[in-house]
């Protein structure tokens, strides 16, 4: 058979690898800053762009989509051509993919700091960027499937299956969760409301963890771990079983993020059951990775790359054991809203994603530059620094989580809550300091790696392309008796392209469904009324400042939550919330029933100088809310959009909205004046106070537990 000559393009792998390292440092640096802000509020600097509420999404998005995202692409663009013995389908698409993705990241970081956010965790980017992400993802998909189609190797190695599964699912998740109604350039409202929005968000959120942080990285593991160890994967059969069972189970586990919330009980149980089952395939994958090193453990002792891989796979095992445990309701009662969740994701992010990436980069750079790693010793040092960093990061947070739980749920013998919320916050600040130091250590290791790899690059010469040869795939595969449609498709890349678009189209159609679901927003609690125009503006400020990053709006039905925050939350209270604002972490107290708890002047002073109202608080001040004015010209489109989404504002209310808004603002201004606080009614703080005072008041009538 004739051998065909072709070349692997190393340029694109190199670009993605450098981007991985660059964004890794940026994303982790922002994370370290945010971590220190929790201990030292002065680090918020008193300017809007650098407050925790805006930086935290920058950190999460940067490490997920910039660091891990570029890591995925590095792995795919390096391994896929070699696995299928064909160059990437299109160099142009590779380039568009690379630059498009970097541009999205850059724009994303800037817009998040400017306060443009949809407030849905890990999907905060606003609608123009959502569209850009979809387009670039499709470019990536075409390039990947094009390469697979013209492959010279019939068999698709297991890593490729992981890449395919990840691509398909991420596309679907992103489209469904990003369904939103734009009201202006860079501002939109989620199509779903309240409980439904929460459900869609965590269906997405959990699967973002599954199909962005886990499955593509399993593909990476199945390629780079055997390569680095110089021996085949322990059990190929197990890898196949692992892949298929994992992707079948993952998609159902999302509701475990909403245990004890207003989500229907059966949906919560469904999430729990599937989460427990997930333990099996996850550990199958972990063991498969570890057993690959059987008889090669002597190599682990000397090779830092294998050290990284071993700890990465171990962290994967720990995180995937912890995850199912946290899905048990009694465990979740402790872990939800606490620092436990943060520790859990960082075992995965730092250990699994971080260490796999580092191992891959240490392995890749010497090969791309035809040289040896500049310093194996430094790589080893990096390994130990980073491992210590993870330990120092995670243990204080676990400790803080249990401490929080015990203090939150402590009652005096007389049946009163024993601790104020502020006592609890203050008692865990030292743990936040330790955690931030752990993060700093981890980041220091990455900087050391960057320098080591820079020296490696300098000592070698870039191998732009690598020649390879392989026989072409026989055109007609030995057809099974019943001829398969796929062989027909395989020979026609364009057909496949069209088919993929049809698949995407089906996704689009299915997502139209929510449009028809709007009518279900009819309130189940008759007292719950739509927000007034001023409150709506206030709510958008709440979203813009990222308040949801520290404050929940969902009181769970526990005695210690009900006596602290008020009556537990009901699904019917959230029917007008586009997007929902339940949050996932309580660094500050729950706000679901904050309305009417304090006078307007309290909120005024608290937002200007939180320390003055709550000594010892770690909340940053928001002075700019007292200078910036609410843009009344957007009221009309906001009301219009909300009605379109099913919120029952009367017809033609847009016209009256601004005068209503002024009336309500004047009332608050007059209220503040009584307390000798003077401010004009168009300032953002007035709208925010209106929203805060409204929260949870509609359904407050129901008796609370004393």
């Amino acid at each position: 058979m004739e051998l065909q000559k072709f070349q692997y393009d190393n340029e694109i792998s190199k670009n993605f690898a450098v981007a991985t390292m660059f964004w890794g440092i940026v994303g982790m640096l922002v994370g370290v800053i945010a971590a220190f802000q929790l201990a030292f509020p002065a680090l918020n600097l008193g300017i809007e762009y650098t407050t925790f509420g805006r930086l935290r999404p920058v950190h999460t998005n940067a490490v997920i989509f910039a660091f891990v995202g570029n890591g995925i692409f590095t792995a795919v663009y390096y391994s896929l051509p070699r696995l299928v013995k064909a160059e990437m389908w299109s160099k142009a698409l590779s380039k568009i993919h690379f630059w498009g993705w970097q541009l999205i990241i850059l724009t994303g970081a800037i817009t998040l700091m400017m306060g443009y956010t949809s407030a849905k965790e890990y999907a905060e980017l606003e609608w123009p960027l959502d569209i850009a992400i979809t387009l670039i993802w499709v470019v990536f998909g075409i390039n990947m499937f094009g390469t697979i189609i013209k492959r010279r190797e019939r068999h698709l190695y297991v890593a490729i299956w992981f890449f395919i599964g990840s691509w398909v699912t991420v596309a679907m998740l992103h489209i469904v969760n990003s369904f939103e109604l734009p009201i202006s350039f860079m501002k939109s409202y989620s199509w779903y409301a309240g409980v439904q929005d929460a459900l869609v968000q965590w269906w997405y959120g959990h699967n973002a963890v599954a199909f962005f942080l886990t499955t593509p990285y399993l593909g990476l593991m199945y390629y780079f771990l055997p390569k680095a160890a110089g021996r085949p994967i322990y059990s190929y059969r197990l890898s196949i079983v692992h892949f298929w069972s994992l992707i079948f189970l993952y998609i159902w586990a999302g509701p475990h993020h909403l245990l004890y919330t207003a989500l229907p009980e059966w949906a919560q149980s469904l999430g729990t059951v599937f989460s427990i089952m997930l333990l099996l395939p996850s550990w199958g994958g972990m063991l498969n990775g570890l057993f690959t090193l059987r008889g090669a453990w002597d190599k682990v002792r000397v090779d830092p790359i294998l050290k990284f891989f071993v700890v990465a796979v171990t962290c994967y095992g720990m995180a995937t054991f912890e995850g199912p445990m946290m899905s048990l309701k009694n465990v979740n009662a402790i872990s939800h809203y606490s620092d436990w969740t943060v520790a859990h994701v960082h075992i995965g992010a730092l250990g699994w994603n971080g260490f796999l990436t580092f191992g891959m980069l240490y392995w890749l750079f010497p090969r791309l530059f035809n040289t040896k790693l500049y310093s194996v010793k430094w790589a080893s040092t990096h390994f130990w620094i980073a491992t210590a960093g993870i330990v120092l990061y995670a243990i204080p947070l676990y400790w803080a989580a249990f401490r929080t739980y015990f203090m939150m749920s402590a009652f005096t013998p007389e049946g009163q809550l024993q601790y104020q919320f502020i006592d609890i916050v203050q008692s865990i600040v030292p743990f936040y300091v330790l955690r931030a130091l752990g993060g700093t250590l981890f980041l220091a290791g990455v900087v050391l790696m960057a320098y080591n790899l820079y020296k490696t690059v300098k000592s070698g010469q870039f191998v732009k392309t690598e020649d390879a040869e392989a026989p072409a795939l026989e055109k007609v595969y030995v057809k099974p008796k019943n001829a398969h449609w796929h062989s027909w498709v395989e020979r026609r890349p364009i057909t496949l392209l069209v088919l993929s678009l049809i698949v995407v189209g089906i996704g689009g159609l299915v997502e139209m469904m929510p449009t028809f679901l709007v009518k279900t927003n009819i309130p189940t609690i008759s007292e719950v009324k739509p927000y007034t125009p001023l409150e709506l503006h206030g709510r958008d400020i709440y979203i813009k400042e990222g308040c949801y990053n520290c404050h929940s709006q969902m009181i769970r039905p526990f005695r210690y939550e009900v006596s602290r925050f008020g009556d537990y939350s009901k699904a019917g209270e959230f029917v007008y919330d586009h997007p929902y604002q339940w949050g996932s972490k309580r660094t500050g107290p729950d706000l679901a029933r904050i309305g009417g708890k304090y006078p307007d002047s309290w909120h005024f002073n608290h937002m200007l100088d939180p320390e003055s109202m709550a000594p010892g608080t770690i909340m940053p001040p928001y002075p700019w809310l007292f200078e910036k004015s609410v843009d009344a010209s957007t009221t009309m489109s906001k009301i219009y959009a909300m009605r379109k989404l099913g919120v029952p504002y009367p017809k033609g209310y847009e016209g009256k909205a601004n005068s209503d808004m002024k009336k309500q603002a004047d009332k608050i201004v007059a209220n503040l004046k009584k307390d000798k606080l003077n401010i004009s009614g168009d300032k953002e703080i007035i709208a925010l106070i209106a929203y805060l005072q409204r929260m949870g008041t509609d359904a407050k009538t129901i008796n609370t537990v004393e």
Binding site: L83, G165, P232, D467
Partner: protein
């Protein structure tokens, strides 16, 4: 809670798609030879003839 229906349908489309992919791949003989598939990836360097700068 009608969005649940939507999510169930989408989830079923995804897992149904995976099921079809699985059935196709196993019928197609993708998983029959488990020895050489696992080993092949280790040896690709030998095919390479030379490096170009």
């Amino acid at each position: 809670m009608s969005v649940l229906v939507g999510l169930l349908v989408i989830s079923m489309i995804i897992s149904g798609g995976f099921l079809i992919a699985f059935l196709w791949s196993s019928k197609n003989g993708q998983f029959e030879d488990q020895f050489s598939s696992a080993n092949r990836i280790l040896f690709e360097e030998k095919i390479k003839t030379k490096n170009k700068n």
